[in-house]
Structures are given as structure tokens and as C-alpha cells.
Symmetry: C2
Subunit: 388 residues, 2 copies
Amino acid sequence: MDRMSRQSSTAPGPDGEVQGDGQGERSGQRRATVVDVARRAGVSTATVSRVMNRNYPVAAATRERVEAAMRELGYVVNAHARALAGASGRTVGIIVGELIDPFYAYIARGVEREATAGDRLCLVCCTQGDPQRELAFIELMHERRADAVVLVGGSVEDRAYKAELARRASELDAGGSKLVLCGRPSLGEDVPTVGVEYDNEGGAFAITDHLITQGHERILYLGGPPGLSTARDRLAGHRRALELRGIRRDPLLEQPGAFSRAFGHRRMAELLREGPEFTAVFAANDIVAAGAAQAMEEAGVRIPQDMSLVGYDDIPVAQELRPRLTTVRIPLEEMGRQAVRVALNGGDEDDWRAPTTGTLRLGTHIVVRESAGPPRGGFPGSGRARRG
Amino acid sequence: MDRMSRQSSTAPGPDGEVQGDGQGERSGQRRATVVDVARRAGVSTATVSRVMNRNYPVAAATRERVEAAMRELGYVVNAHARALAGASGRTVGIIVGELIDPFYAYIARGVEREATAGDRLCLVCCTQGDPQRELAFIELMHERRADAVVLVGGSVEDRAYKAELARRASELDAGGSKLVLCGRPSLGEDVPTVGVEYDNEGGAFAITDHLITQGHERILYLGGPPGLSTARDRLAGHRRALELRGIRRDPLLEQPGAFSRAFGHRRMAELLREGPEFTAVFAANDIVAAGAAQAMEEAGVRIPQDMSLVGYDDIPVAQELRPRLTTVRIPLEEMGRQAVRVALNGGDEDDWRAPTTGTLRLGTHIVVRESAGPPRGGFPGSGRARRG
DNA sequence: GTGAAAGCGCTAACAT
DNA sequence: ATGTTAGCGCTTTCAC
């Protein structure tokens, strides 16, 4: 059998059987590789590599030939081979709860933009609120050697879970990647992560204080899963404001729950019908506020005349509601940007005081619109006032 | 020099210099590899591989040892090496205009879910409306050998651009990947892409017809970049409905523009002040409708008493507006799901009638809410009625 | 059931 | 300025 006339390695296709393409010169299906390009341009593979990476001098004429060859062959470099050979995979991972939730979407946008700016691609996945999935995704991104893995949003306050997370963080760190905690608390000083937070507690404090300043004393706190760090901190800020002003906390006025519109709507409706008295509502986020607003609308409770309503996050819906929602603004997109910036500088550049465990804290501030005002004398009380 | 006593290949680190870790047994920093695991478990690398992939019989005892070794070493497989060695990269790419736009976000969610269901990770990037960026991203995903690249949303109607796109599609196809056109027209029968569309023209036709049925004759078409396929089709449907009912088209009533809230707001305000007469507005999408609604609110024009308003897409804001927006519903998430399903089955499974160039067309339907009703006698006309 | 060895496509020394 | 070559870490025949 003559093997000289064949190309160096006409390996059979993945099927294990050679295709009907007898022994033609043009390899029917195989992708072009550096070797092919090199041969065609009459140079070595090293030169081809140098042309692609423009990190080394190459004669203009040679470069032309190589580029022509690449074009003619429809050559597309294999990122896997490249990554394997040493270069970074140029990837950052981002793990969010839910892509269609503006809170996550804005942060994701920041991450994506900063990644793109740094010439990297973005791996995105959604946990749908499942911590197990979160862990699994971190592993997957580690396998792909992502330069950084950004974990977004509140986390469950589970002991074992946090330990596992810490383990993963260390593994990542050992491999030169960073786990970024974006909008969630640190795992401890000894765990090699980097953090980008915003002042959850402070924002909540500020907005409750705003309500109090208007004259409200009976403020309903609505929504936010008690197990979630984000919700916990918001509630804490709320309580602190109450305390500071010497207003007694009423357990009946603390109604945690899901971060969902449905919850806001349902619970608000119930409370309006048979709950305690209150003159203002602090929804744990804008989504919950939207649900609550609808319940009030349906019950004929006017905002802000009969009831004040405020939210948290300042996502677009806050401006779409009528009246527009007074809420707490978080620099969402900026957080995403900083997340990758902080992760990449802490390991990519020279070790200028490499802050293995730094935490960047961004500020929040309240945005006053029209959904909150002073309480009026007449509280609608129970019953579906003005309804039906 | 003795080379026998050393480990098979103690290559210097990426720095080019060996670390201070003289010749100890435990490699200080290097990541564990199959070789390490194999040595530790006293087996060959082949066995380690078989244990990981569970695609081949391995003695229970051996498997235990290997798994223990992996655990002890904190071994994490290298996806790049794996992909290079033949396996698929287990990745699908998705290219959208803007992550925070619900239209894209919902589709992205579908893609992500389906990808995850198929044990794949999702590369996401945003073009921010720039076709060049789109092309660049396709290339990047090709480099990473994504199993499928989903291109989402309307495309510009540029000749050269489409040709370039076709070229990329062919390259991808040659490599066994598929380019999926999600919500945009085919590139031609000869271009190897797969498509998932929805009936843009039909939805527009239906909703304009709905307006006409209510008694409207002077309907303003607002927004939608004329260069975008999506917008073009919607306008076409609108015109067809008019025609069918024998209503003469008035160029002044066709006001294309950006797909943005700002455009909807600004142009609507202008038109209300000094435009032609009309009794209903068909906004090219819900975002534009939201802007238009605000302009009407500011001008004291009541919906639907003074003016009817309808949109397109049925994204969440449609239900947040007051009155709620009558609009056209698109199966956004489903489109995303089908996009990856269709792409992966067309090349991954057995060639059961492999539809290299199929196009799946999903239906749309109008959702009637409260923003459209019969026209009233009194048209507000020019001037900022009831304002100031 | 397990091992040996040949690549996958690319980069980065080290020569020339 | 350009060529040679040795891997990067894994999968996968082909032997045993």
C-alpha cells in the first residue's frame, strides 16, 4: 500500500469509517489547521502562529502569503488548542438566578461589556434559584478554565453550602482563576474570593427613614426570602431605621416572602383585607412593589394618598408604574463591570499588592419619585374600600 | 544527566523559570492532570478517562481508587484538552442585541435552558446593534467550536453584510456547527443555516385588523428601524390589513424609528402637538408603546377613550402599563428552546432526513387587554389638551 | 478489565 | 526572519 501519496494523516472521520472520498487530494471534510496553512504558504507552523498573534516580527511578504493561505483555506483557529497550549481561555463565567430578571440582567450586562472590552467571551448560566445548580456551574466553568467566575445575587445562608462554595473558591484560586461574589457576603477572610457589594442594609435604612420622615410609623415590610442574604440585610436596615427613631417593631408588619410579583400581589391583597393597619409599604424589591401596587389598585387604595409604597433596586418597572416608584438605586451595571475588573487585575497583571480577598463596596441611594408621601388621616382600614 | 529518576516531564511553569520548589514530590502549584491521578491510583490514564466518562466497563474497586485519587488531588478535568481530543465542546453560542431588553432576554432564557438540558454551556454576547460586532462574535464562537450559534433578532438589510453572514454560515457548517437564525429571515436556500421564526407580518396584520374592526381608520404606525427585517415585516403586515379593508395608506401615518422608549415618547409628543389626525397607534413594539403612552399621559390624552394604543411582543411591561396594553404575543422563550433543539438535532443525531436548511415557524396571536377600544367622537386634535 | 501510545491543533523555546 | 520541536491534557484505538 502506498502511503506516500497521501496527506500526512488522513485519519478516518469520527464515525470510524472513511467516507466515500477515495483518495482525492482535497480532504473533503477536515478542518484546516495550522499545518495546512503552513504547507500552503510554504512556511512553518511557527510562522503561521506568529502571523496570527502579531507578537513577533514577520516579513511583510511572508505575512501576506500566510494570510492568503488562511483565507483560501477558510482557516479558523481552534481556541481549545490555543488554550491548551498555554494561552488563557479568554473567558469569564457568570452565574445568575434568572436572565429575565432585570436585577440580574443589568449586572450581566456589565459583566459582558467589561469582558468584551478585555477581549473575552462570556459563559452565562442560570441557577433558577437552586444552590446545587450554582455549585455545578462553578465546576463546569472551572473545567473550562474561566479566568473569573462571577456569582451574582443573594445566597442562601446554609452552612454546608457555604463550606462547599469555599472549597470551590480555593480550587479555582489554585488554578489562577478568581471567584467573584457579586452582591453577596464574603465567605470569610481566609477564603480566596474577591467581592463587589452594594450597601443593602444602608439603602434599606435610608428608604425606611425617608418614610418615617414623611410621618409614617406603621410601615409594612413586604417580601424577600428570609434565607437570602440580600433580603436579610434589607430587613436589617429597615429595622435599624425603626429603632433609631424609637418606633416599636411589630412582627405583624414584617411579611417576608418570595422576591416575586405574584407574592407581592397576593400577600398585599390579603393584608389589605384582613391585616394589621399600616400607612406605608416597603417592598423588598421593585418587582414585589409592582405586585403590591396592583393589589392596591384592585382594592381601590390610592397611592400615595391612601398608602405610600417604596421598593428597592430601581429597575425599569419603577418608572413604568403610576405613580412612579420611590425606590433605592443600586449601580447594577457598574457592579458587573467592577466584578470582572477586580477579578482580572487581581491575578492577571503584575502582583501589585494582589488583594486576594478584597471587597469593593459600591454605594446606593434613594430615588424619590411619587409613590410615597405623608400619611393621610383616613386609613382605608379593612374591607375592599371603593371596590365592586 | 539522569533523566530516569525524574517525573516524566517536569516542564517549567508558564513563567519560563522553575519555581523554588526544587524537586519535591508534591508539585507545588501545577494543576493535577490525568497523569497525576493515574499515578496516584496506580492505573493508566486510559482508565482514569474511562472512569470519568463512564462509557466503558471499569472494575468497581479500580473506579473507587481512581475517584479517591481525583478527590484527594482536587482534580478538575480540562475541557479544552477534552475538546481538542475529539469530544464536542459542549457549548452553544448566542448573540443578542442587548441583554437587558426583555425581547432578547426571554429568547436567551430559552436558549440557555435548552442548552443546559443538553448538558451544554452557553456563550453569550451582545452586539448593541452593531452588525460588525455580530460578525466578529460569530467568528469567536466558531473558534471555540460551538455546537451551534444562535443569532437573535432582526437583521439589517445590507447586501454585503448578508453575503458575509452567508460565508460564515458555510464555514460553521463545514465544521459541523450550525448557524441558527432566530427571528430573522433566511439567507437563501443555498446557505446552510437553520431558522426559527415567528410570524411578524401576520401578527402585525392581525392587530391592525383588530384596530380596524373597532372602527379605527386613521392608525399611526410608530417606531421600528426601517432597515431591520423585523420592523419591515411588521409594517408590511400593517399595510396589508389596511389594504384589505380598503383604507388608503397615508405616508404621514407611518413613522418608523428606533425600537426605543425614548423614540416612542419623543415622536409621539411631537405628533400629538403638530401631527396629522389619528385615533389609534400601533407601536412597533411594546417598548415604543410605553414611551408613547407616557407622551399621551403628559398631553392629557386618555387611553383608550381618546386614543387607542397597541404594541408588539407582549413583554412584561405590557401588563404593567395602565391601561394594560393590547399587543401581539410571540413565543419568545420557546423560540430560544427550538433554536438549539433544531440546530443540535440537525447535526448531532443520526441523519434522519437532516434538514440542513429548515425553518421552523412559530405562531403569534394578539392579546386583547384594555388599551384599545372604539374611537370616540372627540379627537383631541392639535394642542396640548387639558395640559398646563 | 487495563495499559501503551498515537494524536487533537496550537504555542513557545531554542536553533539557524 | 523563519524553521524545529517539544509539549499542553485528554481520548481512543489496539494490544494484552
